[in-house]
Amino acid sequence: MQKEEFQRTEKKSAYELFFDMPVGPQHPALKEPAFFKFKVEGERVIGVDADVSYNHRGIEKALEYRNYIQNIYLIERICGICNVAHTLCYAQAVEQLHGKEIPPRANYIRLMIEELARIHSHALWLGVAAHEIGFDTLFMYVWRDREVVMDIIEMLTGNRVTTAINTIGGVRRDVSDEAKYKVKKGMDILEERLKYYRNVALNDPTVNARCSDVGILKPRDAIRLCAVGPTLRASGVKNDVRLDDPYTLHDEVPFNIVTCDTMDVLGRVVVRVDEMLESVNMVRYCLEHMPNGDVKIKLSLSPPVGEAISRVEAPRGELIHYARSNGTKNPERYKVRTPTFGNIPAVCDMLTSKGDYEVNIADIPITLASIDPCFSCTARMEFRDVSKSKTWVWSLEELKAHCKK
């Protein structure tokens, strides 16, 4: 589809002076290796070709060689920032294989940590987005205030980022009353600061100039291209796994789904800041309503034969884990579908000029960042000829052609 688009616009151009501008695999706008080949004409972007398979780590295969307990720590390292979402999703899948429910207190702690991680991920994103539009002051301020939630996470779990709190059958640590008090205080600071950043995003003229009407994704396109998470919600589509398919306690804890109908980058900023505010309220609710009891149940090391699919709303969008057990200590097959992978077609659409909608080179970094990309979890498959020690990647067309042979 992309290639047809290229040819169509090429004929239309008055100047016929194109060149390919590479963004990636190493580029200041990208924090992780991915390659976007932009066809540009002066400052105008005409088309884009994406390649995200630069960081294949073979995690799915590696999962099959480790037992379920060891896998928690491997799963956690699929993505550093959304590690809580990954372990939560994994733990849910394995518990589903066992067919067991975990204690309510564990559920509350899981939800609380999940929401804290969402705050920290969105705050990180807000800082990065500010840096992409050259607003380093906002970047520094947001990251300073992000320390509040980082400290809370460290106090609750023992680690700043890689929390290792979720485990099969519950959580590893309980929350003390003293910790609850500190979390509550931290939430007050965060709420005040987040309201301030919301105000900055909406009222700062230069932020507005750079973010509004940039990276437009129409609701119809968003659904057609399978966008997920805040990217989808900023296009006005009310879609959230926490609402559609409640897990942990999302059917009990009240929260609003934040949507925005501006369909642009500014909408994504506002959706994420508002989501952080929602998370603050959810954490408060959890602190108040947390029941007493165990935080963990013991489950056997080898779950019974079966399959399980578990879905979690990670900070970046819908995260899907699939597990198949053959009754041994190791999973037979494990499959992960990360939200960034789902958003790649959408971001390619946002970055293509069509009709009145013009994309400038200057819009590339912020539009790419607006989906909160995490490319290291996107590479899924590559081929390796062991005898020749050669590694390669096939596109879908090449794969189909190979199958026909």
Binding site: E43, G134, F135, D136, T137, R144, T206, R210, I361, A362
Partner: protein
């Protein structure tokens, strides 16, 4: 002996050595204030409060490998960093620092000073194009567009002061300010604002750092420069920063003049010059911390929608008063 004194003036004080030392100190000041505004500490370890950091960066860059890519226009690519530095230092020599006139001073030198700034920008455009790198080409293209945006309001605001003084000689302009009308509080405050804003664009600093926008086009026109050439370009930027704040002081803030005890002028004038340029630098740094980077079309739009009409208004205002 007079020629020796003049030579010393050009080479040491208030000439080239002074300019370069001051440029490093001002870069440090700029970085430190910028860091403070962002709730950071800024340079800290090299020298007292990191004052030697810009100099250390410069020396480090000089020692780095200097790569000349195969595809570049070699003579141009190698010559441009030196040309740029020479131009900015030449501008500095014309600023009044120790007295009411600079080392180079002649009737009509305001035009020469403004031309120098445009020339530096043209050097930038050439260095982008001579690199034959995609990011550099885009950067050069943006630098050219940006020049279209800021040059005219900047010239108009400078010339309005010339009209007010009735001369295009910086010496005359400074003299008029000393002998009576204190400009800034009067009609030229608008001109000063325009000049500082355009200076920000000339220096390619946020919100006008469009030609070297890091996250967009890597380093823009600077992308292919490394080692000594990059060091020279960085030094050029520092000297240009100093030169621009010096020019703003000379045109709008009364140059190095101030309340003086007779006989102590040669000591007091440089001190006033330093204080006033630091004030302008502080304004420039604050501007840098306040905004996000604009897009090139927004920048040119802003400039022609607001800056050019305001600059014309400033000229009219001055005409009415004179």
């Amino acid at each position: 002996m007079e020629w020796l004194l003049e030579l010393l003036q050009i080479l040491i004080f208030p000439g080239i050595v002074f300019a370069i030392v001051l440029a490093f100190v001002y870069e440090w000041f700029d970085r430190k204030i910028y860091a403070k505004l962002q709730n950071r500490v800024g340079p800290l370890y090299t020298g007292k409060s990191g004052i030697l950091q810009p100099f250390a960066d410069f020396v480090k860059l000089l020692a780095k490998e200097d790569i000349t890519p195969g595809e570049v226009d070699k003579p141009l690519f190698n010559a441009l960093p030196i040309v740029a530095l020479t131009l900015s230092l030449m501008g500095f020599l014309a600023l009044p620092i120790t007295g009411l006139r600079g080392i180079i001073s002649f009737n009509g030198d305001l035009i020469f000073l403004i031309a120098l700034m445009t020339l530096i920008c043209i050097v930038i455009i050439y260095s982008g194009i001579s690199s034959s790198n995609r990011f550099s080409t885009v950067g050069a293209e943006r630098a050219a567009l940006q020049l279209l945006g800021y040059e005219i309001p900047m010239m108009l605001s400078a010339i309005s002061i010339g009209i007010l003084a009735g001369s295009m000689w910086v010496y005359d302009i400074v003299n008029t300010q000393v002998s009576g009308i204190w400009f800034l509080v009067g009609p030229s405050i608008l001109g000063f604002a325009i000049f500082v804003l355009c200076g920000q664009a000339e220096l390619e600093r946020i919100p006008f750092d469009i030609p070297e926008a890091e996250t967009e086009i890597v380093a823009g026109w600077l992308t292919e420069f490394s080692g000594k050439k990059l060091a020279l370009f960085r030094l050029t930027k520092d000297v240009e920063l100093l030169y621009l704040s010096g020019l703003a002081v000379a045109l709008f803030l009364g140059g190095p003049s101030g309340p003086v005890i007779s006989g102590l002028e040669p000591i007091l004038y440089p001190i006033y010059f330093l204080l006033k340029t630091l004030f302008v630098l502080f304004l420039l740094t604050t501007l840098r911390a306040l905004f996000a980077r604009l897009r090139i079309d927004q920048m040119v739009n802003f400039s022609w929608k607001y800056l050019v009409p305001l600059a014309i208004l400033q000229v009219l205002l001055v005409r009415v008063i004179v």
